[in-house]
């Protein structure tokens, strides 16, 4: 079997359609298991009370928000280096979900911070970097929407994504640098409470749920992108039950 075969949208479309439900159902089952561990099994934290249960979504979405940008960077490099349509479409399909994960991480972080540290928002290195990451996602989305020609938008977004990916570690480092310089002014968020292993397990299960959710959603979205772009290609008309299958 040839791997390159899958870089053709015509071959990838049915494969994505077959793969997506598996990931979606796994994500749903993992989320149920994770929530059950998070709410029923994990004990109340002796320092933070029940408020700590927010980390079961906060930490996994924060991980995903950064991971998705890196994966976008990977697809963007492939798209520019080999000029493959599918790589650019994969990068495009991840952007909204990446922005969503970043937003959830920020929102839940604020709601966790209020009872735990006494403030919704602190100019902490991680929170500030996460906010700038959200702006980077919005930038890629806005550039995509502003360019009519999809092939030009593919390559312009790929350049922007790569520049952003190179910048993310620098941004994180600079914000941390700035934060230590002004340490007296802000709350010290460095004291991480010890975590019971059952909490860690719950968090990991939720992280896998978020990961599989992202894969499922991005596969479904890439199918929509393929249909939008290649709608007049002949292989599309050969798809069994095109309108019916998606009802």
């Amino acid at each position: 079997m040839n791997v390159y075969q899958f870089s053709s949208p015509a071959t990838f479309y049915p494969f994505a359609g077959w793969l997506a439900p598996w990931f979606a159902w796994s994500a749903a089952l993992l989320a149920i298991a994770g929530l059950w561990i998070g709410f029923a099994v994990a004990p109340t934290d002796f320092q933070q009370g029940e408020a700590y249960r927010i980390i079961f979504i906060h930490v996994p979405t924060a991980w995903m928000s950064m991971f998705i940008y890196l994966v976008m960077g990977f697809w963007s490099v492939l798209a520019l280096a080999f000029n493959t349509r599918l790589s650019a479409m994969m990068a495009q399909s991840l952007v909204p979900t990446g922005a969503l994960m970043t937003f959830i991480a920020l929102w839940t972080g604020a709601l966790w911070g209020r009872p735990t540290w006494g403030t919704y928002w602190a100019w902490d290195a991680r929170m500030t970097s996460e906010l700038i990451l959200l702006f980077l996602y919005f930038g890629v989305m806005a550039l995509r929407n502003a360019i009519d020609d999809p092939r030009r938008a593919d390559r312009a977004c790929a350049v922007l994504t790569i520049v952003g990916a190179v910048n993310i570690p620098i941004i994180y480092f600079s914000v941390q640098w700035w934060n230590t310089l002004h340490q007296g002014a802000s709350v010290s968020l460095t004291a991480a409470p010890r975590m019971a292993s059952i909490m860690l397990i719950g968090m990991l299960v939720m992280a896998f749920a978020a990961w599989f959710y992202t894969i499922a959603v991005s596969l479904w979205r890439v199918q929509a992108i393929i249909l939008e772009r290649e709608r007049s290609a002949s292989w599309i008309s050969a798809l069994p039950g095109l309108a019916g299958a998606l009802r």
């Binding site: 520019l80 700038i132 702006f135 980077l136 919005f138 930038g139 806005a142 550039l143 502003a146 360019i147 092939r151 030009r152 390559r155 312009a156 350049v159 922007l160 790569i162 520049v163 952003g164 190179v166 910048n167 620098i170 941004i171 480092f173 600079s174 914000v175 640098w177 700035w178 310089l181």
Partner: protein, 237 residues
């Protein structure tokens, strides 16, 4: 074979120098022809800096604290304002297309344009900074450090900004889109730049900040012309 390769290398080396000089000279000449526009951009910088004390307080201690940050934010905004000019007119009248078709290496030509852009917009900002810093009650060392940080930092603004300017060429909502794309990428420069004067005021050495800014300049000098050249080609396709 080896000899032919060598001579080709020498040729392209000379080509880089010639391309660079040609594009710097051309853009400087064009910029001098539209001096009033450059003056307006500089006035924008001065006025933004003037607004901050009016918006907060004329108290000297506070002004001296926020002075370097204000100078830096104003420099960011002024650079953003001047960036669309970098490629727009050459794109509109087809010059950019001819440049792309010429045998000269594109990154060198683009780098020449960025250099000219910095000389006409970044350098005046640096030269004005000590004067505006005095308005904020910055004294001695802090004043020179913030000027030095602008001297190292404003070229990075032009280099990074050029990528955004090329990506948004002929695109809907150019100016505000450019701000959304570029301002998040400016964050480290802002932090290290404004932080250098803060470090001095806190009684620390600014050398770490300035070295990091210098490292950023080196990275941008290598990466940005390549990324900008690629973006210009994408816009021309």
């Amino acid at each position: 074979m080896a000899g032919a390769g060598m001579s080709a290398d020498v040729d392209s080396g000379a080509g880089v120098g010639a391309a660079l000089r040609w594009s710097v000279e051309r853009d400087l000449r064009l910029a001098l022809r539209s001096r009033s526009e450059l003056g307006v951009q500089l006035m924008f910088y001065v006025i933004v800096v003037t607004l901050f004390p009016l918006a907060s307080t004329p108290e000297r201690m506070l002004l001296a604290t926020m002075g370097p940050g204000v100078l830096w934010v104003a420099a960011l905004l002024a650079s953003l304002l001047s960036l669309p000019r970098l490629f727009a007119s050459d794109f509109a009248d087809g010059t950019l297309e001819q440049i792309a078709l010429s045998p000269f290496p594109m990154p060198a030509l683009v780098f020449g344009k960025i250099l000219a852009h910095w000389l006409t917009t970044g350098l005046p900002i640096v030269l004005l900074a000590p004067l505006l810093g005095i308005q904020y009650g910055l004294d001695g060392t802090a004043l020179w450090i913030v000027t030095l940080s602008l001297l190292i930092g404003t070229p990075i603004l032009s280099l990074l900004g050029a990528i955004g300017a090329a990506l948004t060429l002929g695109v809907r909502g150019g100016g505000s889109l450019l701000a959304l794309l570029i301002l998040p990428l400016y964050v480290p420069i802002l932090i290290f730049g404004a932080g250098s004067a803060d470090a001095v005021r806190a009684g620390l050495s600014a050398s770490a900040n300035l070295s990091l800014l210098g490292a950023g300049l080196l990275i941008a000098l290598v990466g940005a012309p390549l990324a900008t050249a690629a973006s210009v080609r994408i816009a021309l396709d």
